[in-house]
């Protein structure tokens, strides 16, 4: 089994669709299906990128704290799933269904394997 990050990127300024409740319902249903299938590791939706704070502790002195997201971008990570599935095809299939549910493209990215136990 392998873990994948399924992430959804979007614009924080997009207006909510009129039927936003349907989107929530579809994502909720998808989440329940993933949980039932045993592939579920974790998932979450994020507040807008404007609520983010960047901390840079690489220097010697006090960390540099900056208001806003790390990347200057029109689109930001809005939510994600972490799933545990046998291979990429299984991850892509979950991404297809997740994408349809949340109405946004989903990026699939493999985690590095756990260090050997």
């Amino acid at each position: 089994m392998a873990q994948y990050l399924l992430s959804v990127h979007g614009s924080d300024t997009d207006e909510m669709p009129d039927d936003v409740q349907e989107v929530y319902a579809a994502v909720d249903l998808f989440n329940k299906e993933v949980q039932a299938s045993g592939s579920w590791v974790f998932a979450g939706g994020l507040n807008p990128a404007s609520t983010a704070t960047v901390v840079d502790g690489t220097g010697n002195g006090d960390p540099v704290i900056t208001d806003g997201p790390y990347l200057e971008s029109k689109e930001h990570l809005g939510g994600f799933w972490i799933v545990d599935v046998p291979d990429l095809d299984a991850a892509l299939e979950l991404a297809r269904r997740g994408s349809a549910a949340c109405r946004g493209p989903v990026e699939v990215r493999p985690f590095q394997p756990e260090p050997d136990a």
Binding site: L88, D89, V108, Q112
Partner: protein, 471 residues
């Protein structure tokens, strides 16, 4: 690689054997070892051992099995050596020790190369990566040859191949034939790649080749008119994802096809056909697979007549008595079967166009109306200007050059040298030598290929020197 030196008479034979066996060895080892890189390295090691031994001992009875066994043993040795340091490779060793089970029903049914094909053609890989991986792992082309085909330098191609293999591994692209539900979608990518491999065999790339990333690749000049409507085989028109380059493929690239490269890489053609046959067996109800198979067979049937000395011979000049009638019969049979199914697609239509050509005793006896009708169908599924250009070439045979020129006027291909060369030839035949000269000049300006430039300049000189000569 050439310790035995170019003078060694057996060297070319060994190269041929290695290339023929590459796909089988790598595919089998990938299944056994669960790692493409390991499989490729082990195959390479086995080749080096064979290169030392075979000149003394002669070829073993079954070189492929010898290479596979030798490569497998080497890989196991290496894994065991390294397993103390790296337990992940120890796992691979465990896999390999158990997977050669002759009772494994899957491995006995499915050709390993087919598995490898679906992995190499996985949609999560870029098209260019799919083709490069297939040519490297299944076709056995060297990195340098693939780099040449893509017109990139060797280091860049090596990097790209490495990156692709890393993705297969890290993202766990599965090593299997997709399920029934996934198969149709996945199949399109495999067909496109097989067709490109076949093309690579049939029209080996010297400096030009895979057109995916290189819309400016020169058309083939040679011992006859490169883009003359009469001589152009409609075959290579706009193959999937392949744009302009191979529009006028049947003529040639005589100068660039040296003895070193071989005019036709029959092993790649044979490999593409073999894999397509396996695919057709696996998916007997998929007409596009059959269409692609028929297309390849009807093209391969003309192989013997396509080469004379170091030169390729244009369709119009080929000795049709040398065409392989068995392949043609099989190809025609498949095309008829496809017609009965009534689910046409790109490859089936291209096969049908080739069926018309291989049915004719000569270029002049060709049923060009039928060819035009088939291009009409092809345009419906692939409404690209390149298809329209090739349809116009057939139109010229039916309605004359003026009608074809009218079609050309509406195509957005003015910056494409084959378009200009076609236009020039049509203008010449329509009795407009000055306009023809200007189009030849434009074609000249648009291509950097020396052999093609020489041809175009010759045509231009002929126009300037006096009355237009026919054909």
């Amino acid at each position: 690689m050439s310790e035995s030196g170019p003078a060694d008479p057996g060297h070319a034979d060994l190269d041929r054997v290695f290339r023929e066996e590459q796909g089988r060895v790598v595919a089998t080892l990938t299944r056994r070892l669960g790692d493409i890189d390991l499989a490729e390295e082990a195959a390479q090691e086995a080749y080096l051992i064979a290169l030392q031994r075979w000149p003394e001992t002669g070829l073993p009875p079954n070189p492929g099995a010898w290479l596979t066994t030798t490569a497998h043993n080497r890989a196991i040795d290496r894994i065991r050596r390294e397993s103390t340091r790296d337990s992940r490779q120890a796992q691979a060793a465990m896999i390999s020790d158990t997977s050669d089970d002759p009772g494994d029903p899957i491995s006995s049914v499915v050709d390993d190369r087919l598995r490898l094909m679906f992995t190499c053609c996985h949609p999560s890989l870029a098209t260019s990566a799919q083709v490069a991986l297939t040519l490297r792992l299944l076709g056995g082309l060297s990195v340098a040859e693939i780099a040449g085909a893509f017109l990139v330098d060797e280091a860049a191609m090596a990097k790209r191949l490495t990156r692709s293999k890393q993705k297969i591994k890290a993202a766990r692209i599965p090593y299997r034939v997709p399920s029934d539900a996934e198969l149709p979608g996945r199949l399109r990518g495999v067909l496109a790649t097989l067709f490109l491999v076949f093309n690579e065999g049939y029209l080996p790339s010297a400096p030009s080749g895979l057109p995916t990333e290189n819309p400016g690749t020169p058309t083939e000049p040679g011992n006859s008119v490169p883009v003359s409507p009469v001589r152009v085989s409609p075959l290579w028109v706009s193959p999937v994802r392949v744009s302009p380059v191979r529009v006028s493929a049947e003529p040639v690239r005589a100068e660039s096809v040296g003895a070193a490269h071989g005019a036709i890489r029959t092993d790649l053609c044979a490999e593409a056909i073999r894999l397509t046959r396996v695919l057709a067996t696996l998916m007997p109800d998929e007409p596009e697979v059959l269409g692609l198979l028929a297309l390849m067979l009807l093209t391969d049937a003309r192989r013997a007549s396509r080469v004379s000395g170091d030169s390729l011979v244009a369709l119009a000049d080929q000795d049709r008595s040398r065409w392989d009638q068995d392949l043609i019969a099989e190809g025609h049979d498949i095309v008829r079967g496809c017609l009965r199914r009534g689910r046409p697609g790109r490859y089936q239509i291209l096969a049908a166009i080739n069926a018309v050509h291989t049915d004719a005793a000569s270029v002049h006896a060709t049923d060009w109306r039928q060819v035009v009708a088939l291009y009409d169908q092809l345009l419906a599924v692939d409404p690209s200007p390149i298809v329209a250009l090739n349809r116009a070439i057939a139109i010229a045979e039916v309605d004359g050059p003026t009608a074809a020129l009218e079609i050309l006027d509406g195509l957005p291909l003015a910056g494409y040298h084959a378009y200009q060369a076609t236009r020039a030839d049509l203008l010449r035949r329509a009795g407009s030598p000055e306009a023809a000269a200007s189009a030849y000049q434009r074609a000249l300006d648009l291509t950097g290929n020396p052999a093609e430039r020489a041809f175009l300049r010759g045509r231009l000189d002929e126009l300037g020197a006096g009355p237009v000569r026919g054909g």
